[in-house]
C-alpha cells in the first residue's frame, strides 16, 4: 500500500501533498495574520456598524459590492473555461482545468462572502431564508450563486476522483481515510470510467448556462434599478464578457504562480500561456467593444442624469479611474497579446496583472459614480473614499484566496494526474484520427457513401 | 395604576407594533385593545410654553408622557404662529438637555477671563452681589439683550428702586421703542406695527421677513397668499427668492433707491395726493416760514433723484425702478419697511427716513395694510418706566457703573467693538452674569448665576409687532429645573428682598406675574382664546363693541391664562391717523436736513464689501451649540455644522477659490479664515458671512466653529452696520 510516490510518473504533482514545502508554515502564518487583521476589522464593523467604512449617502455601496462583482467575475475563469475547453476537446486543456475549477470554487465563496460583509445586519441574514422574495434581484443572485457553487464544486470533484484514488495508494493516517472516503470506491474499471466521463461531459454542458446566468444576474442587481448608467440592457452580456476576461487574467496569474512555486514547467508550458493569451486578446477586444457600445449609447442618448455620470467618468472626479481602466484593460495589454514574441509567460502575466487591476477598476467605476450622481439634478452629489477597514477586508479576501489554494495544494494535485496520463497515452491516436477526418474531401466522400 | 414610559414603549404602536395590534384584533382581543387605546389616548398631556428661540415668542404645546417632555408642537391658538413651529422651537426639547449648561453658581478663581471658576453656594453668591450693590446702589446697572414682558419691567423697577439711572440694553431691534426715524418724522412714542396681513404690496428694504426679522413664522403665514413682496437686498436671500420683485442695490444705497422710487411716484402721480396735502409737512417748498425759502421734498426728489442718477449710484437699472415704483404705487395698500436689523450703513438715519418717506407718499400711516399702533395689554404696572440706554458702551466707559448684572447679552461676541467692550467691562468692580451657557462675556464675569432654561421657568411676553392685536402671553414652567439653577427674575426679587426694596416685595416671581395679570382681568376687554369656533363668535361680538366676561373671578381667569397662555384683544390697535401722527403731521423736514450732507460713494472701487446676515436657524443668536440646528445648515449652505464665506463664482475665480477651500478675509479691523462656498446668490464684489457662529466659548459644540463676521466689521458707533471692506485671499492647504 504505502508505495513511495517518488517512483510514480507525475511525482512532481504529488510532491506538495506528501512533502511539506519549507515555505508552508511561514506563508500560512502570513496569510493567517492578514486574515486575522481583516477579521479584527470586521469585528469592529460588526460591533460599531458600517460607519467604519467610507460609505455614505448617496454612495451606499462601495468596496464590498465592487469586490463581490470582481470576485464573482474572476470565478468565471475557472469552471466556464474548463467546461468550454472540455466540450471542444481542446487537448491543451488537460493541465489547466483543475487549476481553473479550483479558482472558481475558492473565489465564488469569497465573492459571496463580500455580500455578507456588506450587510448592515449580518445577524439577520436568516431573514433571507425566512422572508426572502424572488422579486429582488439579490435573491436571484443568491439562488444562482448557490447553484453555480454547487455545480462547480461537483464539477471540480468529479474529475478529482481518479486522482484521489491514486493518492490513496500513497497516503496513510487521516489522509488515507479522507482519500478513502472521497475516492468513492474508484478502481478505474471501464464501467466506472464511463460513468465518470458521462458525468463530466454532462456537467460541462450544464455548468456553462449556469455560469453565464450567474454573472448576468450579478449585472441585473444594477441594471434592474433605474439609476443612470446602470439601467441598461447591455449590462448582462457586458458583465459576462468582463467576467470571462478578468477570469482568464486571474487564471493566467494563478497558473504562472503555481508553475513557478510547484515546478510545473513540464505541464504548464509556454504554449498554454500562448493559447490563453490569445483568448485574453479576444476578450480584451470584446471588452473594448462592449465598453464603447455602453458609453456611446449613453453619450448619444444625452439623457441628463446619465450625462452627469458619464462626464464624471470621462473628465470629472472619476476620470483617473476610468482612463486607468482603459489603459489597463485595452491599451497596454493589446501589444503584449498581439505580438507572438510578447505572448509568452512573462508577457501574458503582465497583461493579466494589468487586466486584473483594470477589471477591478471597471467594477468600481460602474458602482461608485452612478451612486455618487443620483438622477435628479436637485439631489446632492456624493463622494466616496474607502476606509482602512474596507482595504483591510479586501486584503483579507485575497489572503483567504491564497490560503484556500495553499490548503488545496496540500491535499490534492493541482494538475489532473489521470487526465495528464490519458493525454500522454491516448491523445495521439485520438487526435491523429481526428485530423485524418479533417482531410479535404473526406466529409463529402462520407456523405456520398 | 401608574403607567411608566417603559410600559408605554412596550405596548405602544410603533411602525411595526401596529402589526401586533392588528394581529390581536384578528384574534378577538377587542376588549383588551380598546383598553389599551383608551389608556394611550389619555396618556399624553399637553402644557403650554412660550418659545424662547428668538424674539418672535411663538406659543408651543409641549407634549408629555409620564412627566417626560417627548414632543413640541406649535400652539394652534397662539396668534403669532397659529400652530406652526420652526427648528429653533422644536429644538428647545434638546437644548434644555445640553450637557454644557451651567447648573451651579460659579465664582471667578483666577484672573478675569482666565476661565477659572469655582463652585459656590447660592447664599455666598447672593451675599456677594448684595454687598456690592449695597456699597453703591446708584452705580449698579443691568445690561440686557433681547427680551420683553415682565422681565423687562422687573429690571426697570429694580434699578429704579436702587436709584440707578442706567438700564443698558444691547440688541439690534428695540421692539418697545419706535425707530428714530418714526420719532422724528411722526412724533411717535410707542412702536408701530406694519399691517402685513392687510397689505397688498410690501416693499422691504433688507428686512429678511422669512429668515430673522421679527416673527418669520407670522410673516411666512400672512405673506404666503397674494401679497406682492418687493425685496431690496444685496443678497439673494430666501426672502428675496420669495419676492415678486427683487433688486440688489450696492450695500448702503437703500436711501437713494427709495428716493429714486419717490421720484417716479411723484412724476407719474402715483402718490396719495390727498394724504400729502393733509398730513405731509415739508412736501412742497416752504414759503410760509420767515427766512430763506426751504426746499421741499418734492423739489429734492425731483431734482436730485432722477432714475439715471439713482441707477448709477445704486446699480439698479432704471427699468427695474419703474417696475417697483409702479407696483408699489399701484393703488393697493402698500407699505415700506425701513427696519433692517443691522442698519443701512453709515447713512442709516438718512436711509431710514428716505425709505419711510415712501410710506408718506402712499399714505400708509393709519391705513389698513399700512401702519398701525399697538395698544399695550392693560397689565398692572409695576413702577414708572426706566427708559433703556441704547448706547451701553459709552455709559460703561464713562465709569459711573461699578456693579453690572448681565442678562442675555454677550457683547464680546455680538458687538463689533469687542476691544472697547473688553476694556469697559474690565473697569467694573463686579460683573455678574445670569447665564445658561459659558459664553465669551460670561467668562469675564466675577460671578455666574445659572439661569434656568426657558421651559423651566415662568415667562411672559408682550407682542408688539403683530398688527391688529394686543397680545400678552404667559407660560409656567413645564419641566423641572436641571441642576441648581434659578430663574434670573427670582434672583432679582431675592436681591430686592435682601436690599429691602419695598416696591418689589413679592414672595416670588409668579405672584408678580399674577398681580400683573389682574390688570388684564379688570380691563374689561380682550379674551383668552379657548377654541377656534368659540373664538369666531367672540370676535364677532367684540367687533360690534360687546364684551362678555369669560370668567367670574380672577382665580379662574388666572387658571385659564396659565393653561392657554394667551390673552389677546383684537380691537386694540389704533388705525386712526391722528394716533399715528401725534404731532399732527408726517414731517419730511428731518429727511431734508439729512439729505443735505454730501453723499459718499459707498462702494469702494475694486474692493470687496463684506455683509453679514442671519440665517434662520441661527437667528435666535444663541444657537451655535445646538447640534440639530447646526446640522440643518446643510440646507442653506450645503454644508452642515458650518457657516461658510459666501462668494460669487467670478469673485472666487479671480482668486482661484473653489467651494470648500479655505480663504482669509482681512479688513481694517481684523482677519479671519473660513471655508468658502460659491453661489450665484451673492453679487460680484460682495462677500456674505452668516452671523451666529464663530464663538470662542460656547459649549463643546459651539466653540471654534465657523467665523464671526464681527471680527471684521467696522465699528460705526452704537448701531450695528453689518458691512465692511475686506480683502480676500486663498489659504493654501498644508
Amino acid at each position: 500500500m504505502d508505495r513511495d510516490f517518488r517512483h510514480e510518473a507525475d511525482a512532481v504533482l504529488m510532491r506538495p501533498i506528501f512533502e511539506r514545502p519549507k515555505y508552508f508554515y511561514p506563508l500560512l502564518g502570513f496569510l493567517l495574520s492578514v486574515i486575522a487583521w481583516a477579521a479584527y476589522c470586521y469585528y469592529l464593523q460588526f460591533n460599531l456598524g458600517l460607519g467604519v467604512t467610507g460609505m455614505n449617502q448617496p454612495v451606499s455601496w462601495g468596496f464590498y459590492v465592487t469586490n463581490f462583482v470582481f470576485f464573482i467575475g474572476i470565478s468565471h475563469a475557472g469552471t466556464l473555461i474548463s467546461a468550454i475547453l472540455r466540450m471542444t476537446q481542446a487537448e491543451w486543456r488537460r493541465p489547466i482545468t483543475r487549476i481553473a475549477e479550483m479558482i472558481t470554487v475558492a473565489v465564488l465563496g469569497i465573492g459571496g462572502m463580500n455580500v455578507l460583509l456588506d450587510l448592515g445586519r449580518i445577524d439577520r441574514v436568516a431573514n433571507v431564508f425566512m422572508y426572502g422574495r424572488y422579486q429582488s434581484p439579490l435573491l436571484w443572485d443568491a439562488t444562482s450563486i448557490t447553484a453555480y457553487m454547487t455545480a462547480s464544486a461537483l464539477y471540480l470533484f468529479i474529475p478529482l476522483i481518479p486522482d484521489i484514488a491514486i493518492l490513496r495508494q500513497h497516503a496513510t493516517g487521516w489522509r488515507g481515510g479522507l482519500y478513502g472516503v472521497l475516492s468513492l470506491g474508484w478502481r478505474g474499471t471501464e464501467r466506472q470510467q464511463k460513468i465518470l466521463n458521462r458525468c463530466i461531459g454532462f456537467m460541462a454542458v450544464l455548468v456553462i448556462p449556469i455560469a453565464i446566468s450567474v454573472h448576468t444576474v450579478v449585472a441585473f442587481v444594477f441594471s434592474m434599478t433605474l439609476q443612470p448608467m446602470w439601467h441598461s440592457t447591455i449590462f448582462g452580456p457586458y458583465f459576462v464578457a468582463g467576467a470571462i476576461f478578468s477570469g482568464l487574467a486571474g487564471l493566467i496569474i494563478v497558473m504562472a504562480v503555481l508553475r513557478w512555486v510547484f515546478h510545473l514547467q513540464d505541464y504548464l508550458q509556454p504554449i498554454h500561456f500562448n493559447y490563453l493569451g490569445l483568448l485574453l486578446l479576444v476578450m480584451s477586444l470584446f471588452w473594448f467593444y462592449f465598453t464603447c457600445a455602453e458609453y456611446l449609447t449613453a453619450y448619444f442618448g444625452n439623457e441628463p442624469g446619465e450625462m452627469r455620470v458619464f462626464w464624471s467618468k470621462m473628465t470629472g472626479e472619476y476620470a483617473g479611474y476610468f482612463w486607468l481602466m482603459v489603459m489597463c484593460n485595452f491599451v497596454l495589454p493589446l501589444p503584449l497579446l498581439v505580438w507572438r514574441r510578447f505572448r509568452q509567460v512573462t508577457g501574458t502575466v503582465i497583461a493579466s496583472l494589468l487586466i486584473s487591476v483594470g477589471m477591478w477598476l471597471e467594477r468600481y467605476i460602474i458602482i461608485v459614480p452612478s451612486m455618487a450622481n443620483p438622477r435628479g439634478d436637485l439631489l446632492e452629489k456624493g463622494h466616496y473614499t474607502a476606509s482602512y477597514v474596507e482595504w483591510s477586508l479586501m486584503a483579507g479576501c485575497f489572503a483567504l484566496f491564497v490560503l484556500i489554494y495553499l490548503l488545496f495544494s496540500r491535499l490534492f494535485p493541482l494538475v489532473s494526474i489521470w487526465e495528464a496520463r490519458e493525454g500522454r497515452e491516448k491523445t495521439l491516436e485520438i487526435v491523429a484520427a481526428r485530423v485524418e477526418r479533417y482531410k479535404l474531401g473526406e466529409g463529402r466522400l462520407k456523405e456520398e457513401q | 395604576m401608574k403607567l411608566s414610559r417603559r410600559n408605554f414603549m412596550l405596548t405602544t404602536a410603533t411602525g411595526l407594533g401596529a402589526w401586533g395590534l392588528q394581529a390581536c384584533r384578528g384574534r378577538g382581543g377587542a376588549e383588551a385593545i380598546k383598553a389599551v387605546e383608551q389608556w394611550k389616548n389619555q396618556l399624553k398631556q399637553t402644557r403650554f410654553a412660550l418659545c424662547d428661540g428668538c424674539a418672535a415668542r411663538c406659543g408651543l404645546n409641549c407634549e408629555f408622557v409620564d412627566d417626560r417632555l417627548v414632543g413640541i408642537r406649535g400652539a394652534a391658538l397662539h396668534p403669532v404662529n397659529q400652530g406652526a413651529i420652526c427648528p429653533k422651537g422644536l429644538d428647545l426639547k434638546h437644548q434644555r438637555l445640553d450637557e454644557d449648561r451651567l447648573r451651579v453658581p460659579l465664582r471667578r478663581k483666577g484672573p478675569r477671563g482666565s476661565g477659572e471658576f469655582e463652585e459656590v453656594s447660592w447664599e455666598s453668591a447672593l451675599t456677594q452681589v448684595t454687598l456690592a450693590i449695597q456699597s453703591s446702589p446708584q452705580a449698579t446697572s443691568l445690561l440686557g439683550g433681547q427680551y420683553r414682558g415682565s422681565t423687562d419691567d422687573l429690571f426697570q423697577t429694580f434699578l429704579q428702586a436702587l436709584g440707578s439711572p442706567h438700564y443698558l440694553r444691547l440688541r439690534c431691534l428695540q421692539p418697545e421703542l419706535p425707530g428714530e426715524h418714526l420719532r422724528r418724522m411722526q412724533g411717535l412714542d410707542s412702536p408701530v406695527a406694519y399691517d402685513l396681513a392687510g397689505a397688498k404690496v410690501v416693499l422691504s428694504f433688507g428686512c429678511n421677513l422669512f429668515e430673522g426679522w421679527q416673527s418669520p413664522l407670522y410673516q411666512a403665514r400672512v405673506l404666503a397668499g397674494d401679497t406682492d413682496l418687493i425685496q431690496i437686498d444685496p443678497r439673494y436671500s430666501l426672502t428675496a427668492s420669495k419676492a415678486r420683485v427683487w433688486a440688489a442695490p450696492h450695500p448702503g444705497t437703500d436711501g437713494i433707491l427709495a428716493l429714486g422710487l419717490a421720484n417716479i411716484l411723484l412724476r407719474e402721480g402715483l402718490y396719495d395726493a390727498g394724504f400729502a396735502h393733509r398730513w405731509i409737512k415739508g412736501f412742497e417748498a416752504d414759503q410760509t416760514d420767515r427766512g430763506p425759502v426751504q426746499k421741499g421734498f418734492k423739489n429734492l426728489v425731483l431734482q436730485g433723484y432722477g432714475p439715471e442718477r439713482v441707477e448709477a449710484l445704486t446699480g439698479i437699472p432704471a427699468r427695474r425702478l419703474y417696475q417697483i415704483a409702479h407696483l408699489f404705487g399701484g393703488g393697493g395698500p402698500s407699505v415700506a419697511l425701513a427696519e433692517r436689523g443691522p442698519g443701512y450703513g453709515q447713512r442709516d438715519a438718512y436711509s431710514k427716513m428716505a425709505i419711510h418717506s415712501l410710506n408718506a407718499l402712499v399714505g400708509s400711516p393709519g391705513r389698513v395694510g399700512g401702519m398701525t399702533l399697538q395698544a399695550r395689554p392693560p397689565l398692572t404696572p409695576l413702577g414708572p418706566a426706566l427708559r433703556a440706554d441704547n448706547d451701553p458702551l459709552s455709559a460703561l466707559e464713562a465709569g459711573e457703573i461699578k456693579t453690572l448684572l448681565l442678562y442675555r447679552s454677550n457683547p464680546l461676541y455680538s458687538s463689533a467693538a469687542r476691544t472697547r467692550w473688553a476694556a469697559a467691562l474690565d473697569k467694573l468692580d463686579l460683573l455678574v452674569s445670569f447665564a445658561t451657557q459659558m459664553d465669551e462675556t460670561s467668562r469675564q464675569a466675577d460671578l455666574i448665576l445659572p439661569d434656568l432654561h426657558s421651559l423651566e421657568r415662568w415667562q411672559d411676553d408682550v407682542t408688539l409687532h403683530q398688527a391688529g392685536v394686543s397680545l400678552y402671553s404667559l407660560s409656567s414652567p413645564v419641566v423641572e429645573p436641571w441642576g441648581r439653577g434659578r430663574a434670573s427674575e427670582e434672583v432679582v426679587l431675592e436681591l430686592a428682598r435682601r436690599l429691602n426694596l419695598h416696591s418689589l416685595a413679592f414672595p416670588d416671581y409668579p405672584s408678580l406675574l399674577r398681580l400683573r395679570a389682574e390688570g388684564l382681568f379688570q380691563a374689561r376687554r380682550g379674551r383668552i382664546p379657548q377654541a377656534r369656533e368659540d373664538s369666531e363668535i367672540q370676535q364677532l361680538l367684540m367687533k360690534q363693541g360687546y364684551w362678555q366676561a369669560q370668567y367670574d373671578d380672577f382665580a379662574s381667569f388666572w387658571t385659564a391664562l396659565q393653561a392657554q397662555g394667551v390673552w389677546l384683544d383684537e380691537q386694540a390697535s389704533y388705525r386712526g391717523r391722528a394716533h399715528l401722527m401725534p404731532q399732527g403731521n408726517f414731517d419730511l423736514r428731518p429727511l431734508l436736513q439729512e439729505a443735505k450732507q454730501p453723499w459718499v460713494a459707498p462702494l469702494h472701487r475694486g474692493g470687496l464689501l463684506l455683509v453679514s446676515f442671519k440665517p434662520f436657524a441661527l437667528s435666535g443668536g444663541r444657537n451655535a451649540n445646538q447640534s440639530r440646528l447646526l446640522e440643518s445648515l446643510a440646507g442653506p449652505f450645503g454644508t452642515a455644522w458650518e457657516g461658510p464665506i459666501l462668494l460669487n463664482p467670478t469673485t472666487a475665480k479671480a482668486r482661484d477659490l473653489r467651494t470648500g477651500d479655505l480663504a482669509r478675509l482681512v479688513s481694517s479691523r481684523g482677519e479671519l479664515v473660513g471655508p468658502v462656498k460659491l453661489t450665484e446668490a451673492v453679487g460680484p464684489a460682495l462677500i456674505f458671512l452668516p452671523f451666529g457662529l464663530g464663538h470662542e466659548f460656547f459649549g463643546k459644540r459651539g466653540s471654534g466653529r465657523g467665523v464671526n463676521p464681527n471680527h471684521l466689521l467696522a465699528d460705526f458707533g452704537p448701531n450695528l452696520v453689518g458691512h465692511s471692506y475686506v480683502e480676500l485671499s486663498k489659504v493654501e492647504a498644508g
Partner: protein, 232 residues
C-alpha cells in the same frame, strides 16, 4: 381605503426647514454629529434641496422639500430581498426596521435618494436624557438598518384608534403629518388623494401640479405646485 398623498406648494415654501426639523423631532431622527454629517450621512427624512438657476442678479430659486415620494410603484420595494420595505396601508411605503438586513439595495434603487442608513448606532448613542425625550410613538432605529419617511404612519394609527373610540369608521380617519403641521407658510397639504373632496386631491389635479421624475413611472404621491401663471 385611503390613498395618502401630499402636495407641496413651492410658491409658498420659503425654505425655512421647519418641516424637516419637525420631521426629525417627531420621528426621532438623531443628529449624526459633525464628522458624520460632513461625510454625507445626515439623516433627514424630509430633506430640502435648493434649486438656484440663473446668473446674478437674474436669479430664480426654489426650495424643494423632499420627503419619501411614497411611490405607488416604488423601486425600493421591488428590490428588497426580505420584505423589509413594502407598500403598506393607504399607499404608504413602509419599512420594517426589525426585518431589514441592511443590504442597502433599496437605497441604491431609490431614484430620489430618500432612504437613509444607520451607519452607526446614532439613536442609541444619544445621551440618556435625549433618549428619554424621544417621541414614544416612533421606535428609534438600531444601527445597520435603512429608515425613511413614513408619512407619520403612527399618527394614522392614532387617528384610527381615536375614530374607533369615538365610534367612527377607522377607515375614514383623517390625520396630519408633522411636517404639514409645522409649516408656517401652509405650503404643505396632506390628505386622501382618492377622496375628491379633499384639498390635496383638488390640488394634485391642478395644472400647476407635477411630480419629481414623473417619467420614471414610479407614480409618486408627493406633488409639487409650480409657480403661478400670473407671476410668469
Amino acid at each position: 381605503m385611503s390613498r395618502w398623498g401630499m402636495v407641496i406648494d413651492l410658491e409658498k415654501c420659503n425654505g425655512c426647514e421647519a418641516c424637516a426639523a419637525a420631521c426629525q423631532a417627531e420621528c426621532n431622527q438623531p443628529p449624526v454629529g459633525e464628522s458624520e454629517a460632513r461625510m454625507g450621512r445626515k439623516i433627514s427624512w424630509l430633506k430640502i434641496s435648493e434649486e438656484l438657476t440663473g446668473k446674478f442678479p437674474d436669479l430664480h430659486r426654489r426650495m424643494i422639500p423632499q420627503p419619501c415620494m411614497q411611490c405607488d410603484d416604488p423601486p425600493c420595494v421591488r428590490v428588497c430581498p426580505v420584505h423589509a420595505t413594502y407598500l403598506g396601508e393607504g399607499g404608504i411605503v413602509a419599512q420594517i426596521y426589525q426585518r431589514c438586513i441592511g443590504c442597502r439595495f433599496c437605497m441604491a434603487a431609490c431614484p430620489y435618494t430618500v432612504k437613509y442608513f444607520n451607519w452607526y448606532n446614532y439613536a442609541g448613542g444619544l445621551p440618556a436624557a435625549e433618549q428619554e425625550a424621544m417621541n414614544p410613538e416612533v421606535s428609534p432605529r438600531p444601527r445597520g438598518v435603512v429608515e425613511k419617511c413614513t408619512f407619520c404612519h403612527h399618527r394614522l394609527l392614532l387617528a384610527k384608534d381615536q375614530a374607533r373610540l369615538q365610534g367612527n369608521d377607522p377607515a375614514r380617519a383623517v390625520y396630519h403629518p408633522a411636517c404639514e403641521e409645522a409649516c408656517p407658510a401652509k405650503a404643505i397639504y396632506f390628505g386622501d388623494l382618492d377622496d375628491s373632496t379633499t384639498e390635496v386631491a383638488r390640488l394634485a389635479q391642478s395644472h400647476r401640479a407635477s411630480r419629481l421624475m414623473e417619467d420614471l413611472g414610479t407614480n409618486p404621491k408627493v406633488y409639487y405646485l409650480a409657480r403661478k401663471e400670473n407671476h410668469g
